[in-house]
Symmetry: C2
Subunit: 353 residues, 2 copies
């Protein structure tokens, strides 16, 4: 095993009994912009062709901060990932020598060079025979809806939004997920920024009056739309702005036309991301009638209110692709990541690889 | 005179001869997000009712960095303002005792509380009888087109955009100028962000193909639209993104429909800001036919290319308000600020105040 630069993180392993013959483990990680989750799962049997246990057993669960290298820088991202894995193994009463596979799904992996770099971090942390996988966080979300099978389409709409599609033969495609500057409309940030813009436009006399004005000012404890300028300058974090989505939904439910228009636009944007990946990969076949899982995750899609953005997106997509099968995952994305690694191990075991 | 906290800045005054009986001065400041300019102007005669000399005499010109308190914080903004004024007075061979008025027009003054705070900084820096004026930077731009008269409408479109209107009886109105989060579409940032978004949409399969893709990637020395994500994350400064406007204009001139659409939208947005302030203040009279100056400044409006955004905005506005008189200022905004102060001194002198 290679030596680590952060020896302290793994010091706990020295006090552990030898793991030889113990339970083999898989680490599944979901690294987002707000937090990073690592779960530790046993490698359950490959002997039959059945699906993994439902729910899959989770031996340990650890949480840390942001591990998106774009947000916090490489050094901090790497240390966060290393610590959360050590924490999960420690909680599971095990060490790295028991690990068979690590599947890391982390936001900010947008390019093969990102993937290669993070993969090299992982390989330096673990023994050479550990299978390491690095993906975008969308992969974990997808796998959490399909119990580890990487096939279909996943739409994530929280603070940001991204759509990914995967074919059974290993091709993939992405749409959106490029951040607010590059137009992730339909995201929580996008919806809330449009609402704030509408308030300013109404105040300026450039747009219609809207209930959003009083509701948003009340929510933020401000007395005039003018003060929104200072409010956005004070802290332009996307999550802080995206937190206004419930206000927009409640205004739309109360009949506000401007808020309603913003949500309808968001539905079109989110649906267009799904359509783009479905078309590029031919996920619903040549006639568009084929069946295909559509995993939907993130705060924007989970509002079970009168105005249900997720439901409207499904309704919009189903017109064009009636075989799309919407799935709201029951397990967390980190479990999806671990199941994905388990599926790969299973295939390799069955093919004798 | 009050004692300064930054004594060092004004140390040069100790070596100056007494200014009693010397030339009275006005300081005019234009504080933007990229730089701050202070000019020193003599107080020329109030005896007749003529306009100020054209061009107005400038005794000294000093430049410093950003003085927008939203961008650099209050302490840094205040020190920048103090230093640039001291620098201008030093270059003019004079001291604060010769100053009759200071007119500071600085970006980021969006609320009366901003104005009051900056006014109190100024008053602490100068003798009690110095007239101090604090405005948004739009005021300096306006006055630079009207030789110090605060009447009409000014549209600024550089990295950001803002429109201000002023009536002869002292009312004013603003539109836009709220920053990118709050939808300053039509700004240089807004145009370029839309162009970047179009590149991503085309790449995703969510929007039409566009010449913007190859031109922008070439300009930024990137090889794939994917890399735009890292590029925007690396440094989200608005000016860096707004610098892509010439690429968008050249694509529109070459017939690219997407680029053309972005510029047409920008024209509508900029025109809507002007219309909003003209309507709120009744600047063109009840029938909209009255005459009114329209001062136009900023990089987005100054492109004398085949696709001339400023010309299109004027053409759009003139349909509704045929009496709008477009002005492209010949003096810099800091001179406008000084002329504004001169006009106030003149009025006070004529009314015996």
């Amino acid at each position: 095993m290679k030596r680590d630069r952060n020896e302290g993180i793994w010091d706990f392993e020295n006090g552990m009994p030898p793991q030889d013959g113990g339970q083999d483990l898989i680490l599944g990680l979901d690294g987002g912009t707000t937090s990073t989750v690592c779960i530790c799962m046993p490698v359950f049997s490959f002997t039959d062709n059945s699906l993994p246990p439902d729910p899959p057993p989770v031996l340990a669960h650890a949480v840390a901060g942001c591990s998106n290298h774009n947000s916090v820088g490489e050094t901090a991202a790497k240390e966060t990932l290393e610590r959360v894995m050590a924490d999960a193994l420690f909680k599971a009463g095990s060490t790295r020598s028991a690990v068979r596979a690590v599947c890391l799904a982390v936001s900010g992996v947008n390019h093969p060079t990102d993937q290669q770099r993070i993969l090299s971090w992982l390989r330096a942390m673990f023994p050479n025979d550990v299978k390491c996988f690095v993906h975008n966080d969308a992969v974990a979300a997808m796998a959490s809806g399909t119990m580890g099978k990487l096939h279909g389409c996943v739409l994530i709409a929280g603070t940001g939004t991204i759509a990914y599609g995967y074919t059974e033969d290993g091709r993939e495609a992405r749409a959106s997920g490029a951040g607010p500057v590059l137009g992730d409309w339909g995201s929580g940030y996008g919806i809330a920024a449009m609402a704030l813009t509408s308030v300013i436009r109404a105040y300026d006399g450039r747009g219609p009056q809207t209930m959003l004005t009083s509701r948003i000012l009340h929510e933020l404890e401000l007395s005039s739309p003018d003060e929104l300028i200072g409010w956005t300058y004070a802290d332009p974090s996307w999550a802080r702005i995206a937190a206004l989505v419930p206000v927009v939904v409640s205004c739309a439910e109360a009949g506000d036309e401007v808020a309603n228009g913003i949500l309808l636009d968001a539905v079109q944007e989110l649906a267009s991301s799904i359509k783009a990946v479905v078309c590029r990969l031919g996920l619903c076949g040549e006639d568009g009638k084929g069946s295909c899982p559509l995993v939907m995750v993130g705060g924007v899609l989970q509002a079970n209110k009168k105005w249900d953005i997720g439901k409207e997106v499904i309704s919009c997509i189903s017109k064009e692709f009636p075989g799309m099968l919407p799935i709201r995952p029951k397990v967390e994305p980190a479990v999806g990541a671990a199941l994905l690694a388990w599926n790969v191990l299973k295939k390799q075991s069955q093919s004798g690889g």
